[in-house]
């Protein structure tokens, strides 16, 4: 079943055409990884798929419904699409537990008791239950990022989008976050991930998508993409990324 898709997606900022016509779709249970050079439009693409901003042209579909075409409640759809940012973006005045609870209470209208139970379970999944009462400023970057993942995950979304969640972490912290993400992929959570952690892509991705200058240049299963990419652009970019050739 198709969870999230788009057709003919274009995005223009001023005179700058950042996305130049993208067709894409991801099914329930799949994990797809987006790679591509800096400035190629990966974050912009993800923000539009997460309904954080509208496209200039083209359509976004959530579970088959044309998101901007029909008169839908965008907030109800956003609640079903989790988002994990490069900077953890936690609410600074709330503890880890309260960060996870806020959406459950305010958006999903859970009682305080239900929300606490759900939030604690989710924090446990990302191995942050022991830090439940700490404020963001008291946690390391990797710990904050895992709280960010829990915040998205606790909403029981149909898909979670990740925008380079480990880009601002050092190697050791990157691993603890990547481990949690691999866990989620294996549990069958649908994930669309912008990352250059090729190990993650190799192990759990169903597909690697290469973006360049606002277009999808090539996509395919990891074995094929990493070993025998079809386009010259993909060979060149992956060659540099894998540090060989």
């Amino acid at each position: 079943m198709e969870v999230l898709a788009c057709k003919g997606l274009r995005k223009v900022y001023g005179d700058l055409e950042v996305l130049k016509g993208i067709d894409f779709s991801i099914n329930k249970g799949e994990t797809k990884v987006i790679i591509g050079p800096s400035g190629s439009g990966k974050s912009t693409f993800l923000r539009i798929m997460g309904l954080l901003e509208p496209p200039t042209e083209g359509k976004v579909f959530f579970e088959g419904k044309d998101v901007y075409g029909e008169n839908l409640n965008l907030n109800m759809i956003r609640a079903k699409i989790g988002f994990v940012f490069q900077d953890p973006s936690l609410f600074r005045h709330l503890t880890a537990l309260e960060n996870v609870k806020l959406g459950l209470k305010v958006v999903l209208k859970m009682s305080d008791e239900e929300a606490t139970k759900k939030a604690m379970e989710t924090l446990k999944l990302v191995r942050m239950d022991e830090w439940a009462d700490y404020y963001p400023a008291q946690l390391s970057g990797g710990q904050q990022q895992r709280v960010g993942i829990a915040r998205a995950l606790a909403m029981d979304p149909d898909i979670i989008l990740f925008d380079e969640p480990t880009a601002s972490l050092d190697i050791e912290l990157t691993w603890e976050v990547i481990d949690v993400m691999k866990d989620l992929a294996r549990r069958g959570i649908t994930m669309l991930v912008v990352t250059h952690e090729i190990g993650f892509a190799k192990e759990v991705a169903d597909e690697i998508v290469l973006m360049d200058s606002g277009r999808i240049v090539e996509s395919g299963p990891p074995e094929q993409m990493l070993k025998s990419p079809k386009t010259e652009r993909a060979r060149e970019f992956l060659g540099r990324l894998l540090g060989g050739v």
């Binding site: 907030n75 956003r78 988002f83 940012f85 973006s89 005045h93 806020l102 305010v106 958006v107 915040r151």
Partner: protein
Amino acid sequence: MYFILEYSQFIIEGFYVTVTMTLVGLAGGVVLGVLSALGDVYGGKLLKIIINSYVEFFRGSPLIVQLLIFYYSIPAITGVKWDALTAGSLTLMLNSGAYQKGYFKGAIEAVFKDQLIAAKSLGMTFPQTLRHVVLPQALRIVIPPWTNEYVSLGLSTSALIVIGIRELTNVAVSISAQTFRPLEVYLFIGLIYFVWITLSLKVLDWVYNKVKIPGLAVSEVM
């Protein structure tokens, strides 16, 4: 010095008026300040122009002149009669609101944009985001600058003398005129202001430390 005690009844009444007017002005100022700040950050063009004209007028003219306008000029133009306490309270609220708007705006803008986007991604509406993300942080961040406003407004209430309100300074002037002992009278009244403001500062400091959150302070966001 003991002669002053004979006037303690007047002094207590004057002090009561001073404190009440300060608190009324501050409370009204908080409401006006928060609303103007929200309007200036999130509102449309026309609203911004209105808010900023209001702020500039009250920050760009002397409080005494504002009091005279509210007590004499406005009733003369509009025909609406109000007493000195009403005119004084209104002026203090509007004056303080104009200053507080600046502090609240700074605090609201200090609530990082990334948190607003995170709230949006959870499906929170704008009013929900204001209530649960922006205001709880902005109200904490604003306490230190707000403390300055409290001191400044509290001391400025002595300007109310120009419209005849019987606040502490006005009382002092009367006592001095009756006793011909300005030296002692004004020193004593000055001491009352000093003790009052110092104690208030201690209380506000305590409140700030009570609600402060690690990683969330003016020094860290501004």
